[in-house]
Symmetry: D2
Subunit: 279 residues, 4 copies
């Protein structure tokens, strides 16, 4: 129907379009399925998959997705997201507001490492598709990295943990799922090849971190890099909620970053009179 | 140790306290469990339970929690939360920012109905504990409601759906889990007794809605009312992410609520000259 | 026109209504004034007043509003709002996102004291209108406060400052403006009478704080209590922006509340084996 | 003092550093000035300037800053920021939360045009410093733009307004301030030269818009491009607050983008049975 022939209401309804949910009085369909057919028959991770990708995962795929989501729920109150959730909870706002202030900081630096890692893996996967060997593809990508991008190789190393206990466990599980044919294992291969090549170049192992390991799983399951940040938000929201909730049980008000009796260091212009006033 | 004897660092570390997560280099424990012992052995809803409540649920309890979380993921772009996620996604912010702006509006009106319903059920459960019959307890609470609170009975009725297809399915499943001894069924009884008493008083059925039905499950599982809002945030975050993600695939920029060529109605002071200017 | 006769487009345009802004191609009117007539002729505080209240203030009223807005811009990084702005700025989000996470915590506890103070003053003003003396009205309100509300008298006392240097200066300026007939001075009288009565009751002065003092000015200027929180947001946004901006010049990444090498105290369940695993 | 010699408290206090605010009990200094010396002596825009830049502006500079801040306060409810503020206000959250959800979307697309325009002007200013003529510098920059960047020339053109009534007025005022020696007029020259060169290339005038015009003023006043987004947030916050406040006077609950009785268009997979169920 041409735009001119549409009524205003049709035009308005068309302005908001979605392929995710269809609704009529008494009817809710998600991705084509009646909601009452889904409830009680698919797990919560399967519902997440369906909503994001449009089709149902196998039961095993949903289990693996749930594993990655469960692994990154918390990293303690030194993480800005968790600290912000706790501070916000002392300021007289709703628990959803405390969560929002926290989720809002899962940006490029705090929440983007998984996305960067999966993009990096994807570049190597593409080189494999072009016929390169795994070693060749990894070397090529690392050469480009050190020539052009520098900083940290995404997915490797941790400021705090010599070995992040989550990463080897996640890779072990990915291997199990690959052995059962649920996934191919290709991204696990890539991540381990990066780790090995880096160890060769640096003379010491810089082990895979949680972002690198969850990126392996999300890649194995076919999620695009940009969506891994959204998945990380769903995962970390659990820790954010737990900490906001714990803090709400306390009586703190306007909790600052440092103990109440401490101040900050002032590094600015020394005290001075207002222009024209005599000292 | 007395506060005076503590070093500054001890005092600082004590300022941030939590019973949720313990960490050392190479060690992450959630609620006392090594994270690598949890990964791959508990489902994502079980992880949510552990984080929020401190102990592991049974497998069946985790399944029921996952059912409630999965049921409320989306109600379409006429819900302010979903619309905001989509609009934000066209404004040049990160996907986590779009999610935060949306989650932030799940306040008393948009996100609080489950909490209100579970508090209402809880008052009736307390009256049962005091020895009242179910009918008596429900009548007493509704009498107080109509005398003092008015407006809508929490958990009943829907602006759009004559019968919300999610609610009867969730109650049916709760009954199944009660039959298997996972939960007691007490909150399902209470919700249905409210519905029945209201039908008697009003002469027509005002059926249980999604908030009333998920509140039944959260109550059966022992969650306090205030935490149901947090659980709703986790649930609705899935729909918020799905819609933000779908919108990000489009080329819209600064998407407004109405079609681009429409304006709003102006209802204010008519055009007037600046004071002192002649017309 | 009846709703039935409206076209869909008319209905859509009516769904979004406002008395604040009127727009056509080439035309923008705020509260009835052509925007080009306002630009360059009214100050920024006068624009804030016009937008919020619908009419232009006198020049003197706008100056007094600007004084209150300028006084509360910052209270340093121990305030959760300022700390959050700085932490967010290290997480890889936009400066507007850092500001939003911070503004979001200016809730009942962190941002609501001015509103509570002005409501308190308003109750006393009402009693004056009923014919009570200032002393009588203040006593009556304080009696009710200590009988029913307790906690802190809104607008008085400060955790950190024995005397908040901003408050006496703001009251002095309010008196100047009252002497020139810009405002009545009634709310300054009320605040000082509360301070005096409290000193009599407690045996020591609990001096007016910044929230109490800005509430005096907002009350003198005729703003309703609920709007003082919005004005505080506009004011504190300046400090939030300044701190976010200063932090963005630094190279910190994922800045936590405590120095990087410190942890938090863990207060939860001691390390335990996963159920069924042998220790 | 070396880091090793510091006490924990010193280390903690040093972790939070700022050159903006210095505080002791009874003392608050902003950028070196006692706050009570500033209150009542500098305007609100002058306070904004001091906080962001560290030194006091002249009175005229502060007036010009206030003009730019006042000009962009609102563009009506079709702007996502304003619509979100109004929708949020119907969801049962605080006015600061409604403002935060809205400010949060002033990202690269919705809030970044001024920054892009000022960067563009800055490139041309640099070329002038290298000795190019104004015409040559503009041509060079536009050539690069059309070769590499494309899309829209920042600061020019408007989807809705043939001529944005704010822009010519702001340029006229900038010329006035330049004539009085407050600013140099260099950025006004650059903006007008871009407009002229584009008219020559396109055969029709694409007039300066509000982002281009405020960028001229911020540039004249010496603000760096990245800070113009923060200034825009301060400006637009006024409209956001006004609309949230107006909406809060209404009784709407969970206001969606379209009239309540309308739905959205569903464009996804048609209704289908759950796998394994017979239709």
């Amino acid at each position: 129907m041409s735009a001119e022939k549409k009524t205003g209401r049709e035009r308005g309804e068309e302005w908001w379009q979605t392929g995710i949910i269809e609704m009529y009085p008494g009817v809710i369909r998600l991705r084509g399925y009646e909601i009452q057919d889904l409830i009680g028959r698919i797990s919560f991770p399967a519902m997440i998959w369906l909503m994001l990708r449009g089709d149902l995962p196998s039961e095993e795929q949903a289990v693996l997705l749930g594993i990655a989501l469960g692994a990154a729920v918390d990293h303690g109150p030194q993480a800005p997201s968790i600290a912000i959730a706790r501070m916000a909870a002392t300021c007289g706002v709703g628990i959803n507001n405390a969560m929002a202030s926290a989720i809002n900081v899962l940006g490029d630096v705090h929440g983007g490492a998984g996305e960067q890692a999966l993009s990096f893996y994807g570049d190597i996967a593409e080189a494999l598709d072009r016929g390169l060997t795994l070693g060749g593809a990894v070397s090529e990508r690392l050469d480009r990295f050190f020539a052009e991008e520098k900083d940290y190789v995404p997915g490797l190393g941790h400021r705090f943990h010599p070995i992040d206990p989550r990463a080897p466990r996640l890779i072990e599980l990915t291997r199990d799922f690959a052995a059962r044919g649920v996934v191919s294992g290709r991204f696990a291969d890539i991540a381990e090849a990066i780790e090995a090549e880096m160890a060769k170049r640096k003379g010491k192992t810089i082990p895979l971190n949680i972002d690198g390991a969850t990126a392996v799983i999300y890649g194995e399951l076919g999620f695009p890099p940009a969506l891994t940040r959204g998945l990380f938000v769903l995962s970390r929201s659990v820790g954010i909620l737990a900490h906001a909730w714990e803090q709400l049980q306390e009586s703190d008000r306007n909790k600052g970053p440092l103990p109440r009796e401490w101040l900050w260091a002032y590094t600015g212009t020394p005290a001075r009179p207002f222009p024209g006033d005599s000292e």
